[in-house]
Every structure is written in structure tokens, then in C-alpha cells.
């Protein structure tokens, strides 16, 4: 295979060489269990402590408020379930949005089975939650509010700070409300200062910002009610039992530090490529529609619907041309359901069928965008010529 142009950074990213370098010693030399007393273990302990300090600096919080987890999914599960179960005596109502990642949605559904009540807020056609609607959904029983910072499929950024203001006003009236935000897609693109956003819990996943897979962060503001979901040893201050994944934790902190340092320049880079790509597609291909918010979106997200064609068939053609992207088509999901995000935004299932997401990263170049723009119109035209929904006779 020739050169591969990777445009699926919302799915995962390659590990940055500096991150890998930082991780390596903890596999083979400093392999001790951080809970042990001898020196090879103490080196590992020190590495985890340092990683925690670094992570806390990136989030503007205390090191003790950082819990290392096995990834975004675990952080989301832990946050929503941990707070909802801890608050169950006083409240049993969760508010979330209909465009959350399944890590949040399926956790909420499982809590519904345990007798909790969940409101799944609708979104507008850009995928945004209405702050007034959210406030209107708060009842005497509401305990947890979980709204993602930025959407993984369409890149739409949610009004987190405004929601935090609402939560704060209820708290001042004596209500015990916990506000969680899934910031898995926001890292590297948005500021992660938890006090600026006003969140009580925040989820991150290292593999979305050039760190290793299977490692994440749950930020847990001091004093937030929390029932640990994983019990055993006393690691992570009894909030998440299990021997620490030392190399990955080191990798996560290194990657997060790099992401924060280069956030402005990286965002600027992808924003420029993003806008070129959006413009290019709009001007070269007819009957397309940009999904997500036109401006209030992640700097690296491009998501289009190509009418009359199906996403997987576009992806296969792109892959053949050496480009990796993804789709919200039912045909590309293991469940054969179309993207719940696009449906929540009001797209009919058959339109969601033709959706393709390109998510850019630091390695992408203008040449990559040019190349994509040179082949994409041909791919869409070829598939449309084959489509029973297109008019043009082909023979």
C-alpha cells in the first residue's frame, strides 16, 4: 500500500514519538508495582505521582482530584453511575443529551433499568442543546447532569459554561446537583480548565490526543458525591481499585502536556485545513450538506452528507485511494443503526446513510486536502451513477 492519509483522528490518533519514549522505561526497567516499597516500585510510584501533577496542571485542578481510568468509556461510566448512585437518596433523575457518546447513553439506559429516571434532551439541527430547555428539565429529583463538551461525530461544541451557570444557581438554592462533561473530543482543541468551565466531573481519553489507548482521566471535584464502581485495592484514593497502568499513565500525562502546549498552533492548523476542505467539498460536489454547527465546531471536524449514496461505499473507495475516514451510515455500524447523533439532529435515516466524517490531525497537510478534493467528486459521481435514487441514466 502506498501512502496512507489518515483523516479519522476523532476515532483515534497515533502515539506521539515523545509519548512513546516517555512510556518505554516503565515496561522493561521501572516495571515495579507502585504500591510496593522497594526502589523499582518507588520509581513507578514517582512516575504516577508526576503524571498526576502534570494532568492536574492541564486541568487547573488539584492532583487529588484526578483519577486515572482505562479510557473515556470507563470515565463516563464512572462519572454518571458513580454520582447518580451516590446521590440516589436525595435524587434519582439524570439529565443528558440525545447526542452523547454511547458510553454515557448506555450507562444512563442501564441506570433506567435500575429505577432511575433519565431525560435525554433534544438538540437543534446543529446538534446543540438548549440551555433553557436543560433548565426546564430540572426537577426536584434531578441529581446528575451530563453534557458532552464537543460531539465526536459532528464536532458541535456545547454551551458548557452556560450550563454550569445554571447548575451553580440551583446549587446556591441548596440543591445537590452534579455536572459532568465528556471532554474526550475536546482535548487538544479546547481549553480544559475545569474551573473556567465550571464542571464537577470531566472525562478524557488519552488515545484521542496522541496518547496510548486504554487510558483515561476522570476529574472529580473535591466534595463531589461519588460511589466507586470498581472495588478492590486502595489505589486512586479508593475511588478506582486496580494496579495502575504505569506506562500508559505516563503516556497520557506526557501527551496531555504536549496537547496543551501546542493547542493554539494545532487548532489553527486543523481549522485552516478544515475550512479548505469544507469549502472545497461545497464548491465541487452538488447535493451535499455540512452536518454540525457551521462555526461552533471542533477545529478538526468535517462531516458531510452526500445525497443518494451510502457511506460505507464512499469509505471503501476512499480507502482504495489511501484515505481513512468514517461514516454514520447504518451499514458501517455493527448494530446496523444509523448514527443516533444525525437522527437526533433531525436527519432522516436515509440521509444519514450518506454521511462521511473527516477528522483532521497534526500530520495532515494542504496536499492531503488537495488530494482528497481531487478524488472525492469522482467517487461520489461514480456511486451516484449507480444509485437508484439518482436520475441520470447510465446506459
Amino acid at each position: 500500500m502506498g501512502k496512507m492519509i489518515y483523516m479519522d483522528h476523532a476515532a483515534t490518533t497515533p502515539v506521539h514519538p515523545k509519548v512513546l519514549e516517555a512510556m518505554m522505561p516503565y515496561f522493561t526497567e521501572k516495571y515495579g508495582n507502585p504500591s510496593s516499597v522497594y526502589s523499582v516500585a518507588q520509581e513507578a510510584r514517582k512516575a504516577v505521582d508526576e503524571a498526576r501533577d502534570k494532568t492536574a496542571r492541564a486541568l487547573g485542578c488539584r492532583p487529588s482530584e484526578i483519577i486515572f481510568t482505562s479510557g473515556g468509556t470507563e470515565s463516563d461510566n464512572a462519572a454518571v453511575r458513580g454520582a447518580a448512585l451516590a446521590l440516589r437518596q436525595g435524587g434519582d433523575h439524570i439529565i443528558t443529551s440525545s447526542v452523547e457518546h454511547h458510553a454515557v447513553l448506555h450507562t444512563c439506559q442501564s441506570l433506567e433499568k435500575q429505577g432511575l429516571e433519565v431525560t435525554y434532551l433534544p438538540v437543534d439541527r446543529y446538534g446543540q442543546v438548549g440551555v433553557d430547555e436543560l433548565e426546564g428539565a430540572i426537577t426536584d429529583r434531578t441529581s446528575v447532569i451530563s453534557i458532552m463538551m464537543a460531539n465526536n461525530e459532528v464536532g458541535t461544541i456545547q454551551p458548557i459554561a452556560e450550563i454550569a451557570e445554571v447548575v451553580k444557581s440551583y446549587r446556591q438554592k441548596g440543591r445537590n446537583l452534579v455536572f459532568h462533561s465528556d471532554a474526550v473530543q475536546a482535548a487538544g482543541a479546547l481549553d480544559l480548565d475545569v474551573n473556567k468551565w465550571g464542571v464537577d466531573m470531566l472525562s478524557l481519553s488519552a488515545h484521542k490526543f496522541y496518547g496510548p489507548k486504554g487510558t483515561g482521566v476522570l476529574y472529580l471535584r473535591r466534595g463531589t458525591p461519588f460511589t466507586p464502581y470498581q472495588t478492590g485495592g486502595s489505589q486512586e484514593r479508593n475511588r478506582r481499585a486496580g494496579t495502575e497502568n504505569v506506562p500508559n499513565i505516563v503516556g497520557l500525562a506526557t501527551a496531555l502536556e504536549l496537547a496543551q502546549t501546542h493547542r493554539e498552533s494545532a487548532s489553527q492548523h486543523s481549522r485552516r485545513l478544515r475550512d479548505r476542505l469544507i469549502e472545497g467539498i461545497l464548491s465541487r460536489i452538488e447535493r451535499v450538506q455540512l452536518n454540525g454547527h457551521p462555526t461552533n465546531r471542533l477545529p478538526n471536524n468535517v462531516n458531510f452528507v452526500f445525497e443518494f449514496v451510502e457511506g460505507e461505499s464512499i469509505l471503501l473507495n476512499l480507502d482504495f485511494a489511501g484515505i481513512a475516514a468514517s461514516s454514520g451510515s447504518a451499514c458501517t455500524s455493527a448494530s446496523l443503526d444509523p448514527s443516533h447523533v444525525l437522527l437526533a439532529m433531525g436527519l432522516p435515516a436515509e440521509v444519514a446513510h450518506g454521511s462521511v466524517r473527516f477528522s483532521l490531525g497534526t500530520a495532515n497537510t494542504d496536499d492531503d486536502v488537495d488530494y482528497l478534493l481531487s478524488i472525492l467528486p469522482g467517487i461520489v459521481a461514480k456511486l451516484r451513477a449507480m444509485s437508484p435514487l439518482t436520475q441520470t441514466p447510465t446506459s
Binding site: V309, C331, M386, P388, S395
Partner: protein
């Protein structure tokens, strides 16, 4: 994920297009994921002389459409009626389990195109009523409702040719 044979038929589909004065048209919709296949046949002396397809769907849907046209072209109607979804999938060197349902489109559309042709012959049901019935059926077959293309697309769908 797909076999070489599937990829070959996907990238170089055989018999793509439509037949203006088709003797029979078959439409199959996929209730699982909402894909659509339209098949046109030209029949002479009970033999499928020509066949063309149009498909909106995944790699497996396009490849099975292409494959089935190769399998039945030049066959008698009776032979073509015996084509099964499994046979199409097998001819392609198999499909991933999650994609097995995609092969349903292909054989179904062939059978419907033949029914359409037979219905139009003197003494049989008129083509139009049959066609409409089948299109509707194609949309709601199975336990789950498939998108009815003509009704729900919020943009205008080009007119079907008659």
C-alpha cells in the same frame, strides 16, 4: 473485511445501469439498514437476455447486486428463479456475518423482476398495480420499518422513470 471477489465486484460492478424499456423491474429494499436495489431485465424466449442494476448501499450490497446479474444473465426464467441469497453470498467467497443480510437484496430483486415480467404477460396482473404493491412491500418487509424513500427524504427525489 471483504473477500477479494467482493472487492472486485464492488470496484468493477458488472451490468450497472438501467434498461429503458425493461420487460421486468424488481425493487428490493433492505429493512435492516435501509438500502435499495433496483433491477431491470430484458426477456426473450424465457431467457434473461439483458439485466442491469442500480444500488444504493454498502460494499456487500453493491457486490451482491453485481454478482447476481452475472449469475442470472443468459439463464432461463426458471433457472433464475432458483437463485438464492446464500448462493449469491457463496459465489462471492462469503460475506462477513454482519453483512449476510445484504445478499437478501440481490436474489429478492431478481425474483421480483421476474414476477413483474410474468405479471405483465397477457392474462396476468397489470404491471402497474404489481409494481406499486411490490415497492411498498419492499419498504416494509421484515419486522422493522425501513425508510420509505419517497416519503421521508426531505429533498426532492427525481421521478422514477416509468
Amino acid at each position: 473485511m471483504y473477500s477479494d471477489k467482493v472487492m472486485d465486484h464492488f470496484f468493477n460492478p458488472r451490468n450497472v445501469g438501467m434498461i429503458q424499456e425493461a420487460d421486468g423491474v424488481g425493487i428490493a429494499g433492505n429493512p435492516v439498514c435501509g438500502d435499495l436495489l433496483k433491477l431491470f431485465i430484458k426477456v426473450k424466449d424465457d431467457v434473461i437476455e439483458d439485466i442491469k442494476f442500480q444500488t444504493l448501499g454498502c460494499g456487500a450490497a453493491i457486490a451482491t447486486s453485481s454478482m447476481v446479474t452475472e449469475m442470472v444473465k443468459g439463464k432461463t426464467l426458471e433457472e433464475a428463479k432458483t437463485v438464492t441469497n446464500a448462493a449469491v453470498a457463496q459465489a462471492l467467497g462469503g460475506l462477513p456475518p454482519v453483512k449476510m443480510h445484504c445478499s437478501n437484496l440481490a436474489a429478492d430483486a431478481v425474483h421480483k423482476a421476474i414476477e413483474d415480467y410474468e405479471g405483465k404477460r397477457p392474462g396476468k396482473k397489470s404491471r402497474e398495480s404489481l409494481f406499486k404493491g411490490e415497492a411498498a412491500e419492499a419498504g416494509v418487509r421484515g419486522g422493522r420499518e425501513a425508510p420509505a424513500y419517497d416519503e421521508h427524504l426531505h429533498h426532492e427525489i427525481p421521478e422514477e422513470e416509468d
